[in-house]
């Protein structure tokens, strides 16, 4: 099934082929989950939204139309809207991006064998997360979309509601700011 496109898999799922959905799930599991985990500091919330995202895919599978866009654009639009809803919630705004107090306890794929390297890597990750947390929402979203969604910037622009050029500029500013913030965090920790 690896050579079949996402859109074809979706069509097969609509016709009742469960394996097609399983393949789709496998293709998007890590990237979508990363999108939620990096956007939200609350582990439970990230889990809930990840689940909700796929449930919406299942529920609305009949309304997906390949003529209107690719499956990846569709699914990441759902994910983006879910994250946006959380941002809009005032209550969530108070707890969101509190990485230091509520670091997500996510399952790591593999831990390095060398413990010193592991500690350094952890420290590095914490700094990077803090830098990501300090990015403006719109920049964080665009950089995470471009990293995980594998979409063209025309599609990303459509999701976030701006032009292709604006999306590219925002992504460039985001990654540059991420670098600057990371260096700042590192400077403060020394």
């Amino acid at each position: 099934m690896h050579h079949i496109s996402d859109e074809e898999l979706m069509e097969r799922f609509r016709r009742g082929e469960l394996k097609a959905f399983q393949e789709l799930y496998n293709r998007y599991e890590k990237r979508l989950y990363a999108f939620f985990v990096k956007n939200l500091s609350d582990k439970e919330k990230a889990n809930d939204l990840f689940q909700e995202c796929f449930l919406r895919v299942i529920k609305n599978c009949q309304s997906f139309s390949p003529e209107e866009g690719r499956f990846s654009a569709w699914v990441f639009t759902i994910a983006y809207n879910l994250v946006r809803d959380v941002y809009r919630s005032k209550k969530q705004q108070q707890t969101i991006f509190d990485w230091t107090e509520n670091e997500p306890e996510v399952m790591h794929l593999a831990a390095p064998e060398n413990p010193i390297l592991h500690i350094l890597e952890k420290e590095q990750q914490a700094l990077m997360r803090q830098a990501l947390e300090r990015l403006p929402e719109s920049q964080r979203e665009v950089i995470l979309l471009s990293k995980y969604a594998n979409l063209s910037f025309k599609e990303i622009g459509k999701i976030i509601g701006c032009s292709e050029k604006a999306a590219k500029q925002m992504a460039y500013r985001a990654i540059q700011n991420l670098r600057l913030l990371f260096n700042q965090q590192r400077g403060q920790n020394r």
């Binding site: 299942i58 990077m128 471009s146 990293k147």
Partner: protein, 289 residues
């Protein structure tokens, strides 16, 4: 606009692999000639592939299972929409099962001569027949060889569990009860004999249909033996009274009522199964959310 700032916009598209060939060549050519851009680009490339943006996590298995179960349920619901031919098929399957049961038992007027264990095994086979017929009608997976194997596994397991349980039950007492006391019970005395058999037939067909619907629509491609075990156990617990009813001498009028009950059960049982399952899942989903 100078080349540096113009091409910087294309850095992220390049890193994410969505830049077209022409612009990619332009970008690489520029990076080869512009030292300041190259240094900055290398820095940003490290950020891009660094831990802040790495894909290093997976969701808990329980979430994966919940999502795949929801997908399985959707597939089941969609494939269980009985239309034209399938309705006829369902009715035909119910009628066939009824005729087989009538063929097996009508010639026997003295049921007390049939060993109780034989009654139970025949009842179990009937139940499996209903289940398989129903699965065939609404499951729609019969054409896949692996599914067929799993159906056989599930069925054999269910039958095995059923038979094993049956052997441990006080069969003789139960048969004695139903032979002499079932129709003299105050509850049944209030009903006509036809209505009694109709209700019994409904129970007899309804429950296997419900179980078959549940088992088959939660795709038995997963854990066929576990699901077969559950089905067998449920048959023992719930269907047993219906099977014991076989020992009551049958009149033709009663058979008609019984058959009507079975047909009705075979049609509505499956739908009720799907409905109960979806209700359960939606409640569960509400609770978890």
């Amino acid at each position: 606009m100078n080349t540096c700032s113009h091409l910087k916009e294309e850095w992220v598209p390049y890193l994410s692999g969505v830049l077209d060939m022409k612009k990619e060549q332009q970008l690489l050519a520029h990076l080869n000639t512009c030292l300041s851009c190259r240094q900055l680009f290398e820095d940003l490339k490290n950020v891009w592939s660094g831990p802040a943006l790495s894909v290093d996590t997976i969701p808990p298995p329980s979430i994966r299972n919940a999502i795949l179960n929801a997908a399985a349920l959707t597939v089941s619901r969609n494939s269980s929409r009985i239309n034209g031919y399938s309705t006829i098929f369902a009715l035909f399957a119910g009628l066939l099962a009824t005729l087989i049961s009538a063929f097996l038992f009508l010639p026997e007027t003295e049921f007390q001569h049939l060993p109780a264990f034989q009654l139970l095994v025949i009842g179990a086979i009937w139940s499996m027949l209903y289940a398989l017929a129903f699965y065939y009608v609404v499951g729609g997976h019969f054409t896949k060889s692996n599914s067929l194997k799993n159906i056989v596994k599930t069925s054999l397991m269910a039958l095995g569990v059923f038979t094993a349980f049956s052997a441990a039950l006080p069969i003789v007492d139960a048969v004695h009860f139903c032979r002499y006391a079932s129709l003299t019970h105050p509850f049944f005395q209030r009903l006509s004999i036809g209505m009694t058999f109709f209700l019994m037939g409904l129970t007899y067909a309804f429950v296997p249909m419900l179980i078959a619907a549940y088992i088959s629509k939660m795709p038995i491609i997963h854990n066929p033996l576990v699901k077969g075990g559950i089905a067998g156990f449920l048959f023992v617990v719930i269907v047993l009274p219906g099977i014991y009813l076989q020992c009551v001498p049958l009149a033709m009028g009663a058979v008609v009522g019984w058959n009507a009950g079975m047909l009705l059960g075979s049609v509505v049982g499956g739908y009720l199964g799907f409905w109960l399952k979806s209700l359960y899942l939606s409640r569960k989903s509400e609770l978890t959310s």
